[in-house]
Symmetry: C2
Subunit: 292 residues, 2 copies
């Protein structure tokens, strides 16, 4: 699946973040992962050639689209070259010897704490404390060596920091998937046997029938749509931004023609990339689990 | 704006939550607000006639749609009767006499902590701690009386708990709006002079051109679309759920006809309600502010 021989992949967060798990799952062996503090930095790392790729969470099945990363895709002159849907499995990670009943503080990132709220509440004796990163929380647990604290993070984080998973899959809703995009400087050619996807963003005036006409560019060519979302823009209420994914790639005439047709109808259009449609994966980390 | 004379409005959270501020801003004087712990409970309170209305956050300009509340609108046999877009202004709320440099812990709900991350980081000496509610965090600050802690919450919460606002508008991005829906048992008649909106949810098979045909029901009648979003459904990938808002109300023939037309094209359709399009508001709370 890896489009380059020695990929170096920037991701947001610390070693052990779900994004690292996504990078390792997508690229398999031989990938170098580069943790960076923020999303802007991972795009910059690809643009300035520090890394060959970055991996970007774009949409979560419970929480919707991550608008910030759509904004970064718009800002940078990069291309989406791949996709992966990762099931988000949260784990309670502790120093060896920690017992559930002794845990007083549980550290993690706000969304992870929210997604495990039922488990935390069920303990009764543990307080949730914010960290800026799930894996950063694991790092903190490791550093203190304390046996009355825990972190919520990916199984990858337990492996990276050599700690124990005390409870696995503690998220409220197990149907929790994050879609990651793999971004690079150059567009890739999509293998003609693979199911392909193209992502675009466009803006148009808010007039009746405008969106209908736009989608006609695809419907008239029997091109299937995979995602559509209008972005609420409070600053420019007379204009709409749309995120659209459609089936196929721009190497196919009908897709290239549909985009040319759409350009005639809209005020702005940017092609974010054509790529192989991503698989849904559980994530790959060597898992450690304590006996009950 | 209030459609009933003595509205009692259920909202999720503690007194002082942004939802309370939304309820007070929408209904003006004479409203009774009823805080309840979860979103399912506020829908139930309307269904079992404990309350006349509930007020529901449905979409945030930074974070996208709140899928959980779309699910509850689908589950319950209630109607959207109104809308309000509230600008989310976060405040640092403290016990009187607290100085910025003494604050060691800042309590709030995960999204609020994330939205104020730059301010918290800029302090350097304060740790963010999760509470299950912004207003609950204010309650905690009040209860302890401590002068080394603070909460992040609405100005309404400072009023409700009679505490001081030490810093106002500490959110990273001031263009942060939450759209709230007002929900009741019965549909309301929309005043013909008012700009109206109708919200529907529908499901259809994933075949090329299906969405285009569906939107034709509106485009052929010159009905403007105000929001469209496809919901990622990992469990039923062959089917799509769409959230759609269009201009107009079902008392208008062309709107009623468009929905009848759409019903012939889709596998499932639910009308969530017709209502007056909401204003954008700053929120109304009596504000207290310390002199610098």
């Amino acid at each position: 699946m890896s489009p380059s021989s020695n990929p170096s992949v920037a991701f947001q967060g610390e070693l052990g973040a779900f994004s690292e798990m996504a990078a390792r799952t997508y690229f398999h062996e031989g990938v170098t992962v580069v943790p960076l503090p923020g999303f802007p930095q991972i795009f910059q790392a690809v643009e300035n050639k520090t890394c060959t790729h970055c991996i970007v969470p774009i949409e979560n099945s419970l929480m919707g689209s991550i608008h910030e990363n759509y904004d970064l895709l718009l800002k940078h002159n990069l291309q989406i070259v791949g996709e992966l849907k990762l099931r988000i499995v949260h784990n309670l990670i502790v120093n060896p010897g920690t017992r559930l009943e002794d845990i007083r503080h549980i550290f993690s990132q706000p969304p992870a704490l929210a997604q495990c709220s039922e488990f935390i509440r069920s303990l009764g004796h543990a307080e949730a404390v914010v960290d800026y990163d799930t894996a950063g929380a694991v790092k903190r647990v490791k550093k203190t060596g304390a046996r009355d604290i825990a972190a919520i993070a990916s199984a990858q984080a337990a492996v990276d920091y050599d700690l124990d998973i005390l409870r696995e899959g503690i998220e409220n809703n197990h149907q929790n998937f994050t879609r990651f995009l793999v971004v690079a400087r150059q567009a890739v050619e999509v293998n003609s046997e693979d199911p392909a996807k193209t992502s675009i963003v466009f803006t148009m005036e808010n007039v009746p029938g405008a969106l209908f006409k736009s989608l006609g560019a695809f419907a008239l060519r029997d091109i299937d749509l995979l995602k559509i979302e209008s972005r609420p823009l409070d600053r420019r209420p007379w204009e709409y931004t749309f995120y659209l994914d459609f089936e196929g790639h721009l190497g196919q005439d009908r897709c290239a023609q549909a985009v040319e047709h759409l350009k005639q109808l809209v005020s702005f259009l940017k092609i974010l990339g054509s790529y192989k449609q991503g698989e849904t994966a559980e994530g790959k980390a060597r898992k450690k689990r304590m006996d009950p």
